[in-house]
Structure formats: structure tokens, C-alpha cells
């Protein structure tokens, strides 16, 4: 065996404890990379089943691949931080050995080789273990997904084999091996290069000696914590590199923890927010065909087919026949017309809203899109009665609902109604102005939720008859699952001459699906955080104990000049507090920033207020203090069993 490999081997044996932690770090990084790519491969297979040959497939695949890349970059960076530190500590321990080797003629390359061989030996064991563990986790994950989602998948697409499959993709496996190997190699090579650069004589001379640049006196720490405090602060500053690795690792875990904690809580908030408060348990939506038509002047308008009142009525009847209840039917036509209203008839809230989105509220008139809606005859009659007007009247829905940028739900009556007649101007151009007299208005508290959820705008009018662009049936069925199948059949059998597409939603299933999905995502997110934190933990533990061990002699001297064991403990405790505070100073703001980014991403889907993730912050603060204290305390306890005399002598090289 080559000499360099031999030296690496003996170093691994000398410091068994750190070897194990480093190995664990390599195993965990490999595991995570394998899991991520394995799950991406499984998702690819799922996408293939769902969107076979569809245009969207490429986009979904790109999205999944992107997600895989982002996650693996996070993993790889974390691993390099952690592993390179481990190899750095190991190389530093052998500075003297390297000096002696150099003085008898070892080249830079040979010194580098000793450190790199160390990593190769560890990789040879760690990577296969990591791959196996990663595949097991992937298998477990796939089983978990299927357990939670298979029923729901099947109810969404009856008769199709919709599960997520465990995919043993050799591409993903090769990629994982290559990335893990590159990570380990790079982590070893960085400190190896540095160790090899130290001139032989310096290496021999500086071994065991600590270079301190400049002492900054921190009297405050000394005053408050006594001589133990001064010693703690000084040693933190001295071995800044050692502590930096710990601080970086701690900060990263804290930041990740807070970010993902915020992600999970915001996901939950999102589900609450998107909860639709209507009685119906099955909803059928029908959209007609729409196409974009260029108007020849650079703009465009949408051309669409319509749902005739007859067709809507026919379908409603069939639903009614099955359930015995009358479906709440709503036909909608938005964006066909616009209207110019005098600014003076807008309510103060409407003006506030307009001003908020950058409208010019000093102008005399304002443009609005008009949403026309029609209801099934029964519910239309109820609404007309409520408004106190005869059938055939046009009823203004004087209720607008939106979310302010800070996430509040904001509802108000937008118009001052006084029996106006609206002059509707078609978007598609032309001069044909349609006059729409408003016979009545119903305001806040009187509008059924079904209408509110159908898409109200500033100007929304219920008209008796309408050729709608899309139509919604809200059905309350005794047995939603059975009705779901029935509705499916009805929509399939109905001759939709104009084409278009339709969906049947079982709202109960939908809710279950969403909560299962969120539960699943939450599980994976926490699994990810837990594994990554574990990688950091290997580093934190090995650095802190290496640090304490390397100062064993210093501690023994302190004891021999009269520091009590308790004083020693106090000093180590203060060191852990100082480094915890430092990492929290970096990690907490970073985590809050991360949480805010998550918020921005989620806000694209729904608006709600950003809340500081206090729970996650508090938890991470407590965890950081507890962790550093436990590790330092443990390391110090091991020192206690040592003989002061032996330790001093060993350190002196006698």
C-alpha cells in the first residue's frame, strides 16, 4: 500500500470518534442526494402517466428537475461546508507530521495525497452506504405517498393506475454517486491544498503553538463573566476558523428551520384561506371554448361560444331529478363589456381601492369591466324577492370582496346606487352600446356566498337571461360520491354542441386531497430539514469536541494554576453561549428572509399577511443553546477523567 494511504489510514484510526462523525456526514449527504434524485425519477414516471403526450408534460418535468437541482445544490453546499471543515481539522492536527514528512523530502503533492486519501477511504465506505439508505428512504417515501394519496388519485381518475412507482433509475443513481464523490473530494482537496502549502520549518515549529494576532480587550465580558469570560471570548477569537465552521453550520440549520417552519404554517394558512364557504358538496363547472382574436390594431379580444339558458336548464333538471334539491346555477359573462362611471357614484372604499392600485381618482370618470351573471330560475326569483323587484329586473350586486396586500380580507359596497342605467361598451370594439338599466341593488350581507365565490367585480349585475361563457352548478347531494359519478355521466351524455370543457369536483374529496397533500409535503419538508440538520450536527459535534480536545493541555494548565473544575465548566459554557448568540445573529435574520421569500412565492397564489414565524424562531433559539451546551459539557466531562499532569506533559511533547 502506498505510504500516503497508510498515513491516511492511521489518521482515521487515531481519531476514531471524528472519523465516525465524518463518515456519517458523507453517508447522510449521499443519502439525501440519492433520495432527491430518486423521488424526481419517480415523479417523472408519474408525470408520464398523467400527462401522456400532453404539451404540459415538458413543463412539469422541467419544474421537477429544477426542484431537484435546487435541493441538491443546498445539500451539496451544506455538505462541503461540513466535510471540508472535518478534513481541515484533521489536516491541522497533522501539521507537525507534514512538516517532518516534508523535511525528509515529501513533495506538496504527496502531502495533498495524504489528506485526499483519507477522504477516498471514507468515501469508499460512506457513498455505498448512503446510496442504499437513500433508496430505502425513497421506497419509504413512495409507500407513504401511495398510502395517503392512492384512494384520492383513483377517485379523480377512476380505473387508471395512478400510484407513484418506485423507480430504480440508473441515471439518477450514477448522478448521485458522481455528485457525492465530487462533494467529498472537493471537501478534502480544499484543506489539503492549504496544508501542503505550509513550509516545512513553519509546520514543525508552529505545531502545538497557537498564533494569536492581536488581542482586543473586551473588558465588558471580563467584568460581567470574570476571568472565565475573558478566556472564553479570547479563545473564540483565536480559533475563529474552528468556531466559524460551527457558527456557519448552526446558522444554516437555524435559517432552514425557520424558513421551512414558515413554509409549513403558511401552507396551512393558505388552505384555510381558500376554504369556500358554501353548502354544496359537488360542484360542476362548464367552460365554453374561448379563442383569442387579434383586432388588427395590435390588441386582441376573446371570442367564445356560450351556454344557452336552455342547455343550463336541461342540465339543472337532470341534477334535480337525482338529488331532489335544486342546484344553485350561475352563468357568468365577464370581460365582454366595460363601462365608464362618474367618479362621484363610487363609494369611498372603492376610491380607496382604485387609488391603491394606481388609478387616477381625480378624473371625472372611471373605467370598469362589467361582470354579468344569470341564475337558475328558482334562485333568481329568490334574489328578486329579496331585492323587492319583479322578475325580469336587473339587480346590481353591490358587494366587492378582495384581499389587501397585507392579507386582510376586505369587503365593501363599491357603488352609490340610485337606479342608474349603465351604458355597456363591448370590448371587441364597435359602437353598439347596450343600455342596461339597474332596477335594484343588493348590498353586503344579502348576497348568497355562491355568487360571491363565482367571481364578483366592482360592477357585477344579475340579469334574467344570459348566454354565459361559463356555468357553475352547486349541488348538495346526500351521497356525494354517487352523485359525482352521476354528474360525470350527465355531462358526458349531454350534447354540448359548442364544445368546451367541464369538471366535476367532489368538494369533500377535494378538501381531503388538499389536506393529505399538505400533510405529505409537510412530512417531506420536515424530513429534509431533519436530515440536513443531522449533517450539520455531525459537524457541530465533531468541531466542538475537537476544539475542546485540542485545548486539553491549556485546560490542564489553567487547573494547575488553580482554576476549579467548575470554573472550567463555566468557561466552556460561556464559549457555547457566545457561539450560539453569534450563530443566532446570522441564522435568525437569514431564516426570516427565507420565510419572507416563501411568503412572496405563496402570495402569488393567495394574498395573506406575512407573519414572523415566532414558534420556529423560539424553538431554534432554545435548540441552539441546548445543543452547544450539551456538546461542550459532554466534551468537558471527558476531560475531567484525565490526569492534569499527564495532559500537560503530553501537550509539551515530552
Amino acid at each position: 500500500m502506498k505510504l500516503t494511504t497508510n498515513l491516511a489510514k492511521s489518521q482515521l484510526k487515531t481519531n476514531r470518534r471524528r472519523t465516525i462523525w465524518t463518515l456519517l456526514g458523507i453517508v447522510l449527504s449521499t443519502t439525501m442526494i440519492t433520495t432527491v434524485y430518486g423521488l424526481v425519477a419517480s415523479s417523472f414516471a408519474l408525470v408520464e402517466t398523467i400527462w401522456e403526450g400532453a404539451a404540459l408534460r415538458a413543463e412539469y418535468e422541467a419544474m421537477l428537475a429544477g426542484l431537484g437541482i435546487i435541493l441538491s445544490v443546498v445539500i451539496i453546499i451544506s455538505s462541503i461546508v461540513v466535510l471540508s471543515n472535518a478534513f481541515r481539522v484533521s489536516a491541522k492536527e497533522r501539521t507537525m507530521q507534514f512538516g517532518i514528512l516534508k523535511s525528509v523530502g515529501a513533495t506538496k503533492k504527496q502531502i495533498q495525497e495524504t489528506v485526499v486519501s483519507e477522504s477516498l477511504l471514507l468515501a469508499a465506505v460512506g457513498i455505498p452506504m448512503g446510496i442504499v439508505l437513500g433508496l430505502l428512504i425513497q421506497l419509504f417515501g413512495v409507500t407513504l405517498i401511495n398510502h395517503f394519496l392512492l384512494d384520492l388519485f383513483q377517485s379523480a381518475r377512476p380505473g387508471e393506475d395512478m400510484g407513484v412507482r418506485f423507480v430504480l433509475s440508473w441515471q439518477a443513481m450514477l448522478l448521485s454517486i458522481a455528485l457525492a464523490f465530487a462533494t467529498v473530494l472537493l471537501s478534502a482537496w480544499l484543506p489539503a491544498r492549504k496544508a501542503a502549502k505550509i513550509p516545512a520549518i513553519d509546520a514543525i515549529r508552529s505545531a502545538g503553538e497557537v498564533k494569536v494576532k492581536k488581542v482586543r480587550k473586551s473588558w465588558l465580558v471580563g467584568k460581567v463573566f470574570g476571568v472565565e469570560g475573558t478566556l472564553a471570548a479570547r479563545s473564540l477569537r483565536r480559533s475563529r476558523r474552528n468556531f466559524r465552521a460551527t457558527v456557519v453550520a448552526l446558522s444554516f440549520s437555524v435559517a432552514l428551520f425557520i424558513t421551512l417552519g414558515a413554509f409549513v404554517s403558511q401552507m396551512n394558512q393558505l388552505t384555510e384561506l381558500t376554504f369556500v364557504d358554501v353548502d354544496a358538496n359537488v360542484v360542476i363547472r362548464y367552460h365554453t371554448n374561448m379563442s383569442r382574436v387579434e383586432d388588427g390594431a395590435g390588441g386582441y379580444y376573446m371570442e367564445y361560444t356560450t351556454v344557452s339558458p336552455d342547455l343550463a336548464e336541461t342540465i339543472s333538471r337532470r341534477f334535480e331529478a337525482y338529488t331532489g334539491t335544486i342546484p344553485f346555477g350561475i352563468g357568468i359573462d365577464g370581460w365582454t363589456y366595460r363601462v365608464e362611471l362618474p367618479t362621484e357614484i363610487l363609494s369611498s372604499e372603492a376610491l380607496e381601492y382604485l387609488g391603491g392600485i394606481g388609478g387616477d381618482i381625480t378624473a371625472d370618470e372611471q373605467w370598469f369591466a362589467v361582470t354579468l351573471m344569470t341564475l337558475d330560475p328558482v334562485h333568481y326569483a329568490m334574489l328578486a324577492e329579496r331585492a323587492g323587484v319583479p322578475l325580469g329586473s336587473n339587480i346590481l350586486i353591490n358587494h366587492n370582496r378582495m384581499h389587501t396586500p397585507d392579507g386582510r380580507r376586505w369587503e365593501f359596497e363599491p357603488l352609490r346606487f340610485s337606479g342608474q342605467t349603465l351604458e355597456l361598451i363591448p370590448y371587441e370594439g364597435g359602437d353598439t352600446v347596450r343600455k342596461l338599466p339597474l332596477h335594484a341593488a343588493i348590498g353586503m350581507g344579502e348576497v348568497p356566498n355562491e355568487i360571491l365565490y363565482a367571481g364578483i367585480q366592482t360592477v357585477t349585475v344579475i340579469v334574467p337571461e344570459l348566454h354565459a361563457m361559463h356555468y357553475i352548478w352547486n349541488v348538495t347531494a346526500e351521497d356525494p360520491a354517487a352523485f359525482f359519478d352521476y354528474a360525470w355521466d350527465v355531462m358526458t351524455e349531454t350534447d354540448l354542441r359548442e364544445g368546451g370543457n367541464w369538471h366535476v369536483f367532489n368538494r369533500q374529496d377535494e378538501q381531503e386531497f388538499i389536506s393529505a397533500l399538505i400533510g405529505l409535503i409537510t412530512t417531506f419538508v420536515w424530513g429534509f430539514v431533519a436530515l440536513l440538520t443531522l449533517i450539520y450536527l455531525t459537524n457541530i459535534i465533531s468541531t466542538i469536541s475537537a476544539n475542546v480536545q485540542s485545548r486539553a493541555q491549556e485546560f490542564a494548565v489553567l487547573q494547575s494554576v488553580g482554576m476549579t473544575y467548575r470554573g472550567l465548566g463555566r468557561m466552556l459554557g460561556l464559549e457555547s453561549i457566545l457561539s450560539s448568540v453569534k450563530s443566532l445573529f446570522v441564522g435568525v435574520p437569514l431564516g426570516i428572509a427565507g420565510a419572507y421569500f416563501v411568503h412572496l412565492a405563496i402570495r402569488a397564489a393567495a394574498q395573506f399577511a406575512f407573519q414572523l414565524p415566532w414558534g420556529a424562531i423560539a424553538l431554534s433559539v432554545v435548540a441552539v443553546f441546548a445543543l452547544t451546551w450539551i456538546v461542550m459539557h459532554h466534551a468537558a466531562t471527558r476531560l475531567r477523567n484525565r490526569n492534569i499532569v499527564d495532559t500537560i506533559r503530553a501537550g509539551s511533547g515530552v
Binding site: V227, T230, R238, E554, L558, Q559, S560, V561, G562, T564
Partner: protein, 226 residues
Amino acid sequence: MAILQVENLTKTYGKGDTIVTALDDVSFSVEKGEFVAIVGASGSGKSTLMHLIGGVDRPDAGRVVVDGNEIYQSNESELAIFRRRNIGIVYQFYNLIPTLTAEENIMLPCLLDNRKADPAKLNTILDTIGLSDRAEHLPSELSGGQQQRVSIGRALINDPAIILADEPTGNLDSKASREVMDLLKLSNKRYNQTLLVITHDEKIALEADRIITLSDGQILRDEAVR
């Protein structure tokens, strides 16, 4: 009255076949202000004796009485406090704390006692060891001889009952050795400081008032010089 009494001190290392008796029933006493050299071949038990007197190790049998206190009846914390107040230790390899300046290293036993060192006393010591202009330097910025003088300063700061020096010149060149010995002798003469020096060096031993020669863990000779 004797400042140090060592009575029937015995210490063994190892177990079974590998058992080594480092000290075998050693007894002697030292008067205040005496300068005693302890000599002997390596393995004769010098260092073990020194560590037992300094309270950093524990004997298997026997007593050590320093200034009327039997030190091995104390627990670990009490022993640490005893060390900082009553014993000044000087090691062969200086063993200064690398993050503390020369001045802070000297003050360390006081600081550990939560006391501020008397500035006049500190200045006298800095003056005596000839490092007034290097008080703010870190150990890494000092030569070996200077570091050893700092460690003597550290031993002197609390007016200890005994100064124990373990091969204090073993790592120094002859000029620095001379300076260190002069300093130790000065403290002995000027402050009537009790001094126990372990050494290999015959010349240094001859400067003492009394030489105790150890061999195989027993006192071979105990004689006054001149």
C-alpha cells in the same frame, strides 16, 4: 515551623505486572525560605513528588502538609483554590495561556480568585522579571527565556507558600537559564520565598541550600550545600 511537611508519601502507577512504584515512603520537611534542589535520574520519582506537593495529583498513601494545611483532605475544588493561593508552579515548557498577554498570564491566579492584582505588586514583578515593556505581548511574541520569566511572575503573584519549579531551565539556552535561575534566587533571597527546584543540572543544584537526591522513589541523600 516547617512550611512543608511530606510524610510517608507513596505513589504507584499501573497495575499487576506493570506496576511502578514512583514514590516509596518518602518523608522530609522544608523550612520557610529554604531553597531545595531535588535531583535524580529520570524515573527516580522527582516529578511525581513535585506534582504531589503541588496538589495536581493524589498520593496512594502519606500526607502533604503545606503551611499547616493537610492538602489531600480537600476536595477537588478546594484543592484548586489551594493551588491558586499557596503554590506557584513553573514548568519546563512555560505553559502560558496563549490568548492572554504577559501581564494577564501573571495575574491569572489572582483573576481566578476574582481579585484584581495589586498594581504596585504587578509592577514590581514585571520590573523584577525585566518585562515591563512587554507586558502587553502575547506568549507567541516572546522568546523562550521571556516566557519562562512570565511563568515565574505568575508563580510569584500570590506570595505562595512554595514555588515549585520543574526543570525550569530544561528548555533554555545557557544565557536564558542563567537569567531564570538568578530570578528564582532573587525571589528566594529578597522575599524569603521557599523554593523547590527539580533539576538534572548539577550546577543549578549546587546553587541551592540543600539537595535531596532521589533514586527509585526513595531519598538517597539529603544534604546541605556547604
